[in-house]
């Protein structure tokens, strides 16, 4: 397998461009490429080859980090379609969705003070799991139908759930430490 840095991340691993991918194939091909690009194979090569191999290894790493994470894969897939989620400039979201996010964050903030903090945290986590599964399935459907505008809306909302998930984890660690 030749490493071509101009290929998109899906092509790089020989995967069809799409949201649904075979994770086992991704891991196997990533490991193959890592072996091919291992620094040991380039010790006796000219400087230019060594530089290329390091650049290629970092490209392959970035590609793997992107595709192995569902949300990052979704955002990358949109980018390939020429769709930006404008995460820094577009703050207009559905008011209903934002209201829910505010409530989720408030529930999480209150969890450590609840009579059973772990149960309160669990409730937030269960709700989050359901919401995330809904976004994943909505994104899959939008991709299948090539409804990129809708896929963009879904991905933008998904970013908030991802952040909530990080917050749930850090709250959990704080509770465990107490």
């Amino acid at each position: 397998m030749h490493v071509d840095l101009s290929k998109n991340f899906f092509d790089l691993f020989g995967l069809a461009v799409g949201f649904t991918i075979d994770n086992a194939t991704l891991v196997t091909r990533f490991q193959d490429l890592q072996k091919q690009l291992h620094p040991d194979k380039f010790v006796s090569k000219p400087d230019s080859d060594r530089r290329w191999s390091m650049q290629a290894a970092s490209h392959v790493n970035e590609a793997y980090q992107t595709l192995s994470n569902e949300l990052r894969r979704a955002v990358y897939l949109l980018k390939l379609q020429g769709v930006s989620i404008d995460e820094e400039t577009d703050t207009q979201m559905s008011p209903m969705f934002l209201m829910e996010q505010m409530e989720n964050r408030e529930a999480l903030e209150m969890a450590p003070n609840a009579s059973d903090p772990f149960a309160a945290l669990d409730a937030v986590r269960r709700q989050l799991k359901v919401s995330t599964a809904e976004q994943v399935s909505a994104f899959e459907q939008a991709c299948t139908k090539a409804q990129w505008d809708h896929a963009r809306t879904v991905a933008r909302q998904w970013q908030f759930l991802d952040k909530l998930n990080q917050e749930v984890r850090s709250t959990e660690e704080q509770l465990d430490d107490q």
Partner: protein, 136 residues
């Protein structure tokens, strides 16, 4: 990344955290979110009969810069008219807090929150004036 002293001050002693009655016709509520970081911000303003903002409250779940931006804005808007407040740009907030380029989007969020709160109160007034016009 180091926060500026002003950001730290607002972060450690946020001004005007809280909630106003969103159903009060004199209260405008702006809800915005930044997909970049998953931050959510609620900014509320209350105007008196002269159209002057007499109170402002915020609640922000986000990083220090987002909290500082919204806290600062609640201070900036008090005593001003809706038109004056509509002139506030994210640059004013970013400059005042000395936000680094990667945190500029936090000030954008605060500007958009003011705009949303103003739009909300104007929509409420338009609906009220409309129904009064019909009644009379």
């Amino acid at each position: 990344m180091a926060y500026s002293d002003k950001v730290l001050d607002h972060y450690e002693n946020p001004r005007n955290v809280g909630v106003l009655d969103k159903d009060d016709p004199n209260v405008g509520t702006g809800m915005v979110g930044a997909p970049a970081c998953g931050d959510v911000m609620r900014l509320q303003i209350k105007i008196n009969d002269d159209g002057i903002i007499e109170d402002a409250k915020f609640k922000t779940y986000g990083c220090g810069s987002a909290i500082a931006s919204s806290s600062l804005v609640t201070e900036m808007v008090k005593g001003k008219t809706l038109d004056e407040v509509g002139e506030i740009r994210n640059k004013h907030i970013a400059d005042e807090l000395a936000l680094p380029p990667v945190k500029i989007h936090c000030s954008v969020l605060a500007e958009d929150a003011i705009a949303a709160a103003i739009a909300d109160i104007k929509a409420k007034r338009a609906a009220r004036d409309g129904s009064e016009a019909v009644a009379s």
